[in-house]
Amino acid sequence: MISLGIEGTAHTLGIAIVEKINEKCKILSNESRMYKPAKGGIHPREAANHHAMHLPSLLHESIKKAGVEIKEIDLIGFSIGPGLGPCLRTVATAARTIAIKYKKPIMGVNHCIAHLEIGKALTGSHDPVLLYASGGNTQVISLLEKKYRIFGETLDIGIGNCLDKFGRAIGIPFPAGPHIEKLARKGRKYIPLPYSVKGMDVSFSGILTAALSLIKNESIEDMAYSLQETCFSMLAEVTERAMAHLEKEEVLLGGGVASNMRLQEIMKKMAMERGAKFFVPSRQYLVDNGAMIAWTAILMHEAGYRMSLGDTKVRQNFRTDEVEVKWS
C-alpha cells in the first residue's frame, strides 16, 4: 500500500510518499519546507499562508522524487491535529481536494501518534515510552490498554518554546535550539535554576523567567548550559518514572528538540542505568515530517479505520488517548 502524507500542524509543511511493503516502512520521498518568521515567534496565519503557497510545488516535488504516479497512491493522509488552527485547516483543505479529485480515501492522523509510530517503524522499537519533545508539545506517551496515554506532560509551555523564548531574549533567531546547544557546549558553570517536576509532569515557564532574569549577570554560555541541563534532566526524570511505573524497557525519542545531542546523551544514560533500550530515529524523522503522517495513515487504514469528508474537520486540541489503537 502506498500513501501520501501531508503534515502541517505548525511551522513545517511536509509531504511524503510512503509504502508499506513486507510489513516494513519504506519511505519513497519526504520533502519539507519550514516557515521562519521574520521576527518573533510563529504567527499562525503567516504560517498557514506559507503552507498554502508552498503546497503545490512541494506536492509535485514529493511525487516526482518518489517516482510514482498519482494513480498508484492508495491513500491520502494528513495531520488533523493537534496544532495551530489556520495551519491545520490549510493542510486539511489540500488533502480533501486531492482525495476528491483523484477519488482516494482520506485519513486524518493524530500528529503525536504519528511521531511515535514513525519512530517505532524506523528504529525497531516495539513497546516504548516516547518522550515527545518539540516546540509546542512536551509529553511522555505510552501504550496502555489500546490507547496511547499521556503519562506526563508540560503544565505550561513546550520545551522548544522555552528554548525559543530564551533565544529571542539573547538575540538568537528562531528556532533557537541548535544555537543554544552550541553555546551550551562552551558553558562551564552551573547556575541554579528552578527544577520543576510534579509527579510525572514538568513545567518550564518558571525556569524561563528565572533564566531571563539572570542573563544580565551571567555569561550566555553558562546560562545556555544551565538551562539545558535543568530542562533535560527534568525530561529524563519524568520519562524514567513513566518507565518504572509501566514496567517498560524501551525509551524512544521524538520531536524536533530530541535532535539535541545533549538531550539524547542524557536520555541514553538514563536508559542504560535502568538496563533499558534507547531508540532515536534520524533527525528528519524527529522533526515534523510528512512520512510519519503517511505511515500512520496506512496503519490506521489497514486496521479498518475509514473517514468520510465529514470526519475530516480539524481538531486543534486532539489528544492521543482519543484514538483507539487497533493496529498495535
Binding site: 496502555l144 552551573y190 510534579k198 509527579g199 535543568t230 529524563a236 524514567e240 511505573h245
Partner: protein, 206 residues
C-alpha cells in the same frame, strides 16, 4: 542492611540504627544529571519528604518517626513499622473489618487534605496497619490546598482499589468517611469525575 525495595529514585533498606529497628530511604545518584544539580535535587527532596512526614504527624495521622536525616548520604532514617500492608490482607477480611479499615483510610486522608498535605502516591501498598494505621512514602507528596491536587490524590486511591482489590465497596467506604471528615469533599468528588474524563492518569497500580 537489607535492601527491601528499589524505586525510580530511591532505595529502601531495613537496618539496625542505634539499637533500633529502622528503615532507611536513600535517594540514589542519577548519572544522567550533572553532579551539582543531582545533589541539590536529592538534598532538597530528602528534606521536603521529612518535612511532609512531620506535617502529617502534626495533622494527626500516623507516620513512621523520623530518627535522622542525612543530607550528605541523602537518606532518611525512620522507625520500622512492623505491621501488614493493607494491600496484602484486606481482601481476606470480612466486610465488617474491611469497612472499618476503609473508614480509617478515608478519615486519615481527610485529615491530610484539610491540612494541605497531598500524599502523591496513595495506594494500599503505602498504608500499613499495626497498632494504628500508618502512611508511608511521601516521596511524591507536596503541600497544597487546591482541590485539583486533592482530586488527583483521591483518584489514584480509587484506581488503586479498583485495580488491586475485589470488593468494589471498599473505595465507597473510604470516600464516605472522607466526606464525613472533610467539608470540601463534594468539590473533590467533582474533580475526580473531571480527572476520569481526561483519562490520562490511568495507570497500572501495583
Amino acid at each position: 542492611m537489607e535492601l527491601i525495595k528499589r524505586g525510580a529514585e530511591a532505595k529502601i533498606y531495613r537496618a539496625k540504627w542505634m539499637g533500633k529497628e529502622v528503615v532507611i530511604k536513600r535517594r540514589v545518584r542519577k548519572g544522567y544529571r550533572i553532579k551539582e544539580l543531582d545533589e541539590e535535587i536529592r538534598r532538597r527532596r530528602t528534606k521536603e519528604e521529612a518535612f511532609l512526614m512531620a506535617e502529617t504527624r502534626r495533622a494527626g495521622v500516623s507516620v513512621p518517626i523520623i530518627y535522622y536525616i542525612d543530607t550528605v548520604k541523602m537518606e532518611i532514617v525512620m522507625e520500622y513499622i512492623g505491621g501488614k500492608r493493607i494491600k496484602d490482607f484486606i481482601d481476606d477480611e470480612n466486610e465488617e473489618t474491611q469497612k472499618k479499615i476503609c473508614r480509617m483510610i478515608g478519615e486519615s486522608v481527610a485529615k491530610m487534605h484539610s491540612h494541605g498535605i497531598i500524599h502523591g502516591d496513595l495506594t494500599t501498598s503505602n498504608m500499613i496497619l499495626a497498632d494504628k494505621l500508618y502512611f508511608i512514602d511521601f516521596g511524591l507528596g507536596m503541600k497544597s490546598f487546591e482541590n485539583e491536587a486533592r482530586g488527583v490524590d483521591m483518584h489514584l486511591l480509587m484506581e488503586a482499589f479498583n485495580a488491586a482489590h475485589r470488593n468494589e465497596k471498599l473505595f465507597k467506604w473510604v470516600f464516605e468517611a472522607y466526606g464525613e471528615n472533610f467539608d470540601e469533599a463534594d468539590e473533590v468528588k467533582r474533580k475526580i469525575d473531571e480527572i476520569i474524563k481526561r483519562g490520562r492518569y490511568m495507570r497500572r497500580v501495583s
